[in-house]
Each structure stands twice: as C-alpha cells, then as structure tokens.
C-alpha cells in the first residue's frame, strides 16, 4: 500500500547501506545461512546478496561456517558473522550504576563489569571514572585487550544529541551540554558513540526481541527514570533533537505529583522507582521497605513483599498497575502500536506481578479499535538490553566505517 505523502529520497548509496544491515539482521535471525536463505529472508535479489556477502567476507566480518551439499547439487556455503573479527563494548550508565559489557562481533557476551553509582553524587569526573572502571573490568572479564576493541557505545540518561556535538543534558544530574563523547574518547583512546537508553533498548528489541515478529512497538523502560522507545514501520523514532520517547514526562494527572522535570503530574512521578516510594508512603508511611536508602533496595524489598503476600505492597502493586495501564493506554491510543514490551531494572524485578495486572487493567484505557491483537509483555531481550543496544549501534557504526573505505565501489553499483 502506498503511504500518502511519503517523501523518502533513496539514493543507491542509502539502499546499499540498508541492504548491508538487512543481511546482518538476517544472520542474527537465522543463524548460519546460505546466500539463498539470506536472499529469501531479506527479499533482496540473489545478485545483491552475493555482492554484499563478498564484501563482508573480504572485510572479515563474515566467515564460511560450513560448506554443504544437498543431493547431487553444487556445494554451497553456510555463512556466519565472524565472532573473532573484533570486540564491541556496550555501556549502560544509569543513576545508580554503570554496567559495561564486552561483546564479540556477533554480539555474543564475553564479559561484564559493574560499578555502583551513588544516585546523590553525580559530578562529571565521578561518572566518567565509573564508566572507565566498568569498561576495564569488562575487558578483563571478557579475556580481551583494549587493542582488539572496535568501538564503545555508551548510553547516558537524559537528553543526548549526537548530531549537535554529542552533548548531554540530564535534568536530574544538572549536567548541561557536557561533551561526554569527547571526554570518553580521550580517556579510552577508542571510537566512542553516545546515545540515550530509550534508543538503545529499542534497537535491541528490534534486533533481538519483539522486533523479530513485528516492526512497530513501544519499549517501555521502568527504573529511576521512565520512558518509551518507539519503533514504527521498522524505523527507530528519534525526533528532531533525538529527544523522542519522553513518555515519562507526559501527563497522568494535570497538577498532580511534582516531577523532577519541574512539571507536575508526569507519568514518571507515578511509575518510576521514586513514584512507587511515594505511593507506598501514602499507603503505609512506616513500611520497612521505605527508608532503606537506595531505590534498588526499595524495589527489591517490594518484590520480597509481593512474594510474601504483604497486603500494603500488594495494594502498591495494584495502584502502580492502574497508573501504568492508564499511561500505556495513552501510548497505544496515540500510536496504535501492536506490541508493548517492558524493560529496565525495575521491570525485571516486578514483571511477574506487574505484567498480568497491567493486562487486566488495559482494556479500560485502550480504544476498541486499537485493542484487538495488542500484546503487552516483559521484554524477551536477554541480559542488559541497554548495553546490547549500544553495542548494536556501535556495530552499525563500525560497519559504516568499513563501507566508507570503499565509496567508489559503493557508488559504482
């Protein structure tokens, strides 16, 4: 179907670059595959696949995993991404921790390093030191060296605008226009790519999660901060200043609870970790889960309370599910996406209770025309989805750099 007013301007160069990623995605989806299987899966012509595979092989990105023969036919190659070609680091910087993960080129996890951050101390030097230390630990755990790393992708909370000089504006940290990409590249002596966790979790969902079955979705991140990564028709929605997805700062209640963004009544003030503390404090001011010091300890205590059948915590979960269903209803009514996944550290801790409770509430908030077939689920992406998504972005950048080495050939096709 033609989409009215579409003004996509594709040059042969753009298409070629997209086709590269399609072949790569197909290998992630299918595992080791023949050229014919790749052509069938991507919808590209056999000739295009053969050309792209030839380039990938000469760059060492692909390897021939096996040579097979069916019946009396000619032998054919089964191709795979060469995991040994290089190393990619993905880093998830949150208010309470840094997690760095070393991946091989097939985005398999080799090793992880973690540093706890005090959510009340967020100076630049403190955070940069945490990132560098977490990466060093991950490199050691992964049994690799800095020299083998092709690139580092770092997710920073807040507003990250790679196009405008990789500056960070994180409202809760009071960082303004910090050139974190340059700071880190100088410290690490490696190519560094900085983006926002909403974009990272969406990319990992598209490559390794719900996106394997659908091409439009919202990926809802619940933690200290709250937001929704959005993919529509296979494209990640960034917005004009890479600030799309701030669903945590849409209204649940005009003039409601104060939000740390300065507005009142935002979704984050109800379904972020601090929002749950506020809800429980109103229900049971003396509850022992309150006043444990950190948000992660609080959420762990909530999960324990749910397991133990604590009635105040059960009521907290019911209210939170109602808030979350209302806010997800808004997202679905506006975007009519078929799939919503929940991700982030708080989702992982509470999904077993939260997902069924939200599903039960949701029909009260979604328009009848958008409800049939709607799926709400915990994200199936394994491991740290932010670090994985940042590794996937960094892999794309690495492949793009390889592609840029031969612009004449690319233009020739």
């Amino acid at each position: 179907m033609n989409e009215g007013g579409r003004v996509a301007r594709h040059t042969a160069r753009d298409l070629r670059s997209e086709n590269r990623f399609e072949v790569l995605h197909a290998l992630f989806d299918l595992g080791p595959s023949s050229r014919q299987e790749l052509a069938r899966h991507t919808g590209l012509s056999q000739a295009t696949v053969t050309t792209l595979v030839g380039e990938f092989l000469s760059e060492g990105v692909l390897t021939i995993a096996a040579r097979e023969r069916t019946g009396v036919g000619r032998p054919y190659d089964r191709l795979a991404i060469d995991p040994g070609r290089g190393r990619i680091v993905g880093v998830d910087v949150a208010e309470t921790y840094v997690v760095a993960v070393v991946h091989d080129l097939a985005l398999g996890v080799l090793g992880e390093g973690e540093v706890a951050l005090d959510e009340h101390e967020n100076g630049q030097g403190y955070v940069v030191d945490g990132i560098v230390t977490a990466i060093a630990r991950a490199v050691e755990a992964g049994g690799t060296t800095r020299e083998r790393i092709d690139g580092v992708g770092v997710s920073m909370p807040g507003h990250v605008h790679p196009g405008a000089g990789v500056s960070v504006f994180a409202p809760n940290w009071d960082w303004h226009d910090v050139r974190i990409e340059e700071l880190l590249a100088a410290r690490l002596e490696l190519p560094v790519h900085v983006d926002n966790p909403l974009k990272a979790v969406t990319l990992s969902e598209m490559w390794f999660g719900a996106g394997r079955a659908v091409d439009s979705m919202a990926v809802v991140n619940l933690g200290t901060g709250v937001g929704a990564g959005i993919a529509l028709n296979g494209s990640l929605i960034r917005g004009t200043t890479n600030n799309a997805g701030e669903w945590g700062h849409t209204l649940l209640e005009l003039d409601g609870r104060p939000c740390r963004c300065g507005r009142r009544g935002c979704v984050e003030a109800y379904v972020g970790a601090a929002g749950l503390e506020t809800t429980l404090a109103a229900l049971a001011p003396d509850h022992p889960a309150l006043g444990l010091g950190g948000q992660r300890e609080f959420v762990a205590a909530v999960a324990e309370g749910l397991l133990a059948g604590d009635p105040a915590v059960a009521e907290l979960l019911a209210r939170t599910a109602r808030f979350l269903a209302a806010a997800l209803g808004d997202l679905v009514n506006l975007l009519n996406v078929p799939t919503v996944t929940l991700t982030g550290w708080m989702s992982r801790a509470l999904a077993d209770w939260l997902v069924p409770a939200v599903r039960a509430e949701l029909p009260r908030h979604v328009l009848p025309g958008s409800l049939p077939g709607l799926r709400v689920q915990a994200s199936p992406v394994p491991g740290n989805a932010v670090a994985l998504g940042m590794a996937a972005f960094t892999l794309e950048q690495f492949l793009a750099r390889l592609g840029l080495a031969s612009p004449a050939r690319a233009r020739a096709q």
Copy 2:
C-alpha cells in the same frame, strides 16, 4: 545518518511508485517546472525524471505548459499537471455537517456543496443521503458531471480501517463495522476511498501546509472530536489498524471529566467543543453562549465574546489554552516533533486567541531539549483541509491505478 534497525524493503516497483509521487509533489511545490528543476528538487536522476514525465505525459496527467529557451541553448519544456484531465471529489463528513469539494487534477477547487447534519441524528441512511446530496451540490457548483469524476475520497469520523474491508467504527455514532465504502460506491457508481480525518488533514498539511518546510509534524484537529495526525520523517503514521492519532483519548487527568469514549479525563473532554461548554458551565452557568442548541453556534458565540471582551469567555479561553498546552506538551515530549499545526472548524474559529495563549503556556509543559525551534501555528492549508486531503489520497489512488495498467513496463526498469 543510518537509522538503527531500519528494515525497509524496497523493490524497484515501490521506489518507482514513490518517485512518481515525488515528481507530483515537486510540481505542487514549484508550479510549472522543467525536467531539470524537477530532478534538482526531488533528488532523482535526470534520466528517472525524464522517464516518469514521459509516462505522465502519455497518460495525460501532465501537460506542456510552455516551451522556453535560455540564451543559445536548446528549448526546454515547462511541465504542469493538466487540470482538465479529470475531477476528484473530497468529502469531509463530521458530526454536524458534510462538505464535498470538487477539485481538478491539480487539486484546485472548482466547487463546494454542504449539508448540515443534526449531531443527535446519525443513522446510516441519514448520513449516506447527506453525503450523496453534498456531492451532487458540489458537482453542480463545480460545473462538471459525474462522468468526469475519477474518484471520490470520503473522510468519516471514528475508526476507519480501509485494509480490513472499509468498515467504520465511530463510537459517538454507535456505528459498528458499517461497510460505508461499498454503500457509497454503489450509490455513486464511482470509485470511493474512505479514510479518517486525522489522516486526511495530515496529508494536506504534508502536501500544502507546514510539510512543505518540515517532514515531521503533528496536525491537531479541534472540533466536536479531537485528534492529532502524525507525520514522522515524511511518512504518515497510521498504526497497525489505521487508528493512530487518537490524542483526544489520551489522559489529561486520571479520573477526570467523563469522556464520550467511556474513559474519564481524556484530552477531548477538555479541549473538544463539548469540553469548552463544560468549562464555561462551571465558570458561568447562566452564560448566554450555553444552550444555543448546537456546538457550532456555541463556538461562534465564544468567538464573539472574545471580540467583545466578555470576561467569562476570556477566562474560558485561558483555561482552554492551559489544557491544550498541557496536552500538546505531552505530544511534543513523546514525539519530539518540530512543528504542531492546529486545524479543524473550532481551531479556525478561535485560532487568533488560542494560538498566542498556547504559545505562552507551552514552555511550562515541554522538556527543555524539545523546546528550541518548536513551532505552534494555525494550519496554513487553505479551505477545507479534510476534503483536500481526501482528494489528495484519491489522486494517489488514481495515479496508482494508471500505474497498474502497465506493470510490465514498471518491472522492466
């Protein structure tokens, strides 16, 4: 910049179809143009433009408006859409009226026909009769005949799902799965294409309004119903069941005013025409603007009150602007669009007061990273934007039918 995870699958056929529309859009933007100007404006190669123009000329869609010569060079043609090639009807069906507009093939307005609908009487036969009568009036006013009409595009309020058998679900009318496209095609004996006003206003904004300068925007429709058409990166966002854009049914206030969709606290209950009646009734229960009978009469009385400096009506406008700014803030925070236009009959009546008041409130609701460069304005699209958008969809369908007549040639390229 590569967008992570993009899985667009373009065949030569798709690209060709998109390229056709690009040439057409360029002619709408530029007016009569040479092949060279079209190539420069679209970014397509001169050879592609020459091929497409050749086909358009042989189909009679384009005409040579002038033959010119610069200096000593070869003469060149200035091409234009041939307005005389056919007639396209766009129809805007709302709760309170039907407006039908006859356009020439260059989407110039030839004639208009209107029928008032009683917002309390919305049986199928009553509405279908209204549509047929409005079209007959428009055809007469446009000095044309049914035989010259290439297609009819009809916008219906509610959920219109063209892919699933052109059924309509309009909650306020209590219509369920009405096959209006078939009903109308049988009555009119013409090709009929039905869609939703949010999609229609967005297409007309993309072709003839703010979309001439930006390729991402929200087009906010204010009337009896309220919604937002969304275009991102040049694509109209439809959602999985063509139900995207139901911003009117996102929350302003959890458990707030009852909304006719069955939920409480929806944006529509505050900034739709009935929402303004509710707000004024709370401020000044005996105000003469209330109880005039129809929503259009009420809004006209509000506009008169604003002109006359009526303090209750001024307070109504201030509260409405605050509600609207909060709800637009949500839209901008989620999608990070650079442009929001206001359209619809209520916007047209109140824009002179509403737009500046909303602009003043908006910084309180938009995240700092999404505020710079944000434009909020009344839609610059002339005339009935719903009817124009439906005519543009119908023109696309007409061109697609022409294209389908020669699939072998299309595949050959």
